[in-house]
Symmetry: C2
């Protein structure tokens, strides 16, 4: 089982308010570190919440509204000033490449590290990364401008070792890799042992799904089915649902409906409108439909 | 005498550190409000330090290193979300116009307010604004990329009313404007009164000079001569003067030398390198050359 955690860095919508900051999240799956969205001031939040921010390998940007990416150039500049050497890969809407290039050009900056940009496709589910310990996909959200969500899935071998049963056989440990891959093996005496005699079915694969800004849209459900943890924006309370529709955002109840339909284990809601000073009522309202709901409070860490 | 004040919003160099933030300053001259430079997170500092930020009429950007302008797009977006209607004018390097336009385009944003951009000229002293209560000029600094300083000068009429003497005459108040402009007038009986009988010489004109990022360069002195208040960067202590030269920044002693040569009334130093945790030693070092030196501490307000 991977060490798979999410830390909330910012979860206010649009503007800074009530000590809350625009969207940014830090995720790690073992030694792979992701930043998802990067609102203004994210570099300060990363330090404040003591995550391993200098180890970020991948930055995923959902869309080009400022509250989701205005902190990106500052973070890249800081990486450079602190003499980062490791390659960094950014996934985001295609126009972002030009924006980054232009900012670097006007400041006459030369990066010390390799920066790779990969444009996301706002249509359909797309594999972004196939890493040894996880895979990352983008999928479409329904907002004012092209927007994608992201899903990070722990990668597991098809079978898990059944350690109790293995002890009954005379097997060299070098065979373990073949076993978790589902292959039959030979014991030390050359006798064939069938895979399912000494392995068991793998537990559910853990996954984290991120739905940044979107109107209520059940077509998202298919992309996030049975996620271990779902972040879904809930900018508004149900009483402000007309405003949610106008601005192409969701309400607490709508986020909870999506979580319920997708049969996820846990929902966290965020991207709170500044009109709500106390957030507890958003949590309580979402829980009327999906009990396992928590607020995406800044600094909070969730195990996936 | 105008109500002319400066509030420091950020005075760290390059990166966020020790609770310090990148460059930004708020200046008002009566009802005219300026933001000078706009590092990342400036919108949060403006609220934190309780200045009349929504009234900013003019934004002056010295150069396009990120720590001097990465907060600009966020501030413009916030003005828009909060339904600003008043015109805003930005002065800055010509490439900034394209950057602003590109960010607005990708977010499909339409501003509710008129945004005027005026490119600064990095060569020579140039009049940017001639307002009823002040004038603003840019002047060249010597840094890695084109950079300007700014000087804001209170505008005063050539003469001030001598209220004691005026009481001895029978003069209608409608003549006061002519008097401060230096003209002779007629009293209520039609008798000519010479201007200098009832006016006195105006006090020194107050001015604030801002020198953001620059290597030590005495050619700057002529632009800031006898300023009431001078901000001059002092990124480094004298012991790090080689580093200052390499990075085209100044030391405390160099900033103090400039203040002394320009015969300013008061110097404030800022743009502190993150290598200095305690700043008092920078102040003390500058004071060995120019006694009237203070630190540009965040949240601090200076009367010009």
């Amino acid at each position: 089982m991977a060490d798979f955690q999410l830390t909330i860095l910012g979860s206010n919508s649009a503007i800074f308010n009530h000590g809350r900051h625009p969207t940014a999240q830090f995720v790690h799956v073992n030694n792979t570190h992701f930043l998802i969205d990067c609102g203004e001031g994210t570099q300060e939040r990363l330090v404040e919440h003591k995550v391993k921010w200098f180890k970020i390998n991948y930055i995923l940007i959902s869309h080009l509204h400022g509250d989701h990416y205005f902190g990106l150039m500052g973070l890249l500049t800081t990486f450079n000033l602190l003499r980062r050497k490791e390659k960094l890969t950014i996934f985001g809407p295609k126009e972002l490449k030009k924006i980054i290039q232009m900012h670097l050009k006007v400041s006459n900056a030369k990066l010390n590290f390799e920066l790779k940009f990969i444009a996301t496709n706002p249509d359909g589910k797309n594999l972004l990364l196939d890493l040894p310990n996880c895979t990352v996909f983008s999928f479409p959200l329904n907002h004012k401008i092209p927007t994608t969500g992201f899903i990070i899935q722990e990668k597991q071998f098809p079978r898990a070792l059944d350690l109790e049963k293995i002890q009954q056989y005379d097997i060299d440990k070098s065979n373990y890799k073949c076993l978790i891959e589902g292959k039959d093996i030979l014991d030390k005496n050359g006798k064939k042992i069938k895979n399912n005699e000494i392995t068991k079915k793998q537990e559910t694969i853990k996954s984290y799904a991120f739905c940044s800004d979107t109107i209520y849209d059940t077509s998202i459900v298919k992309y996030i089915k049975r996620a271990s943890l779902l972040y879904h924006e809930a900018t508004y309370m149900d009483r402000d649902k007309n405003r949610a529709k106008e601005t192409m955002h969701s309400t607490t109840l709508q986020a909870a409906q999506i979580a319920k339909k997708a049969q996820v284990k846990k929902l966290i809601i965020g991207h709170f409108s500044s009109r709500y000073i106390q957030l507890e009522e958003l949590e309580t309202e979402a829980q009327t439909i999906f009990e396992e709901t928590e607020l995406a409070l800044e600094g909070k860490t969730f195990k996936v």
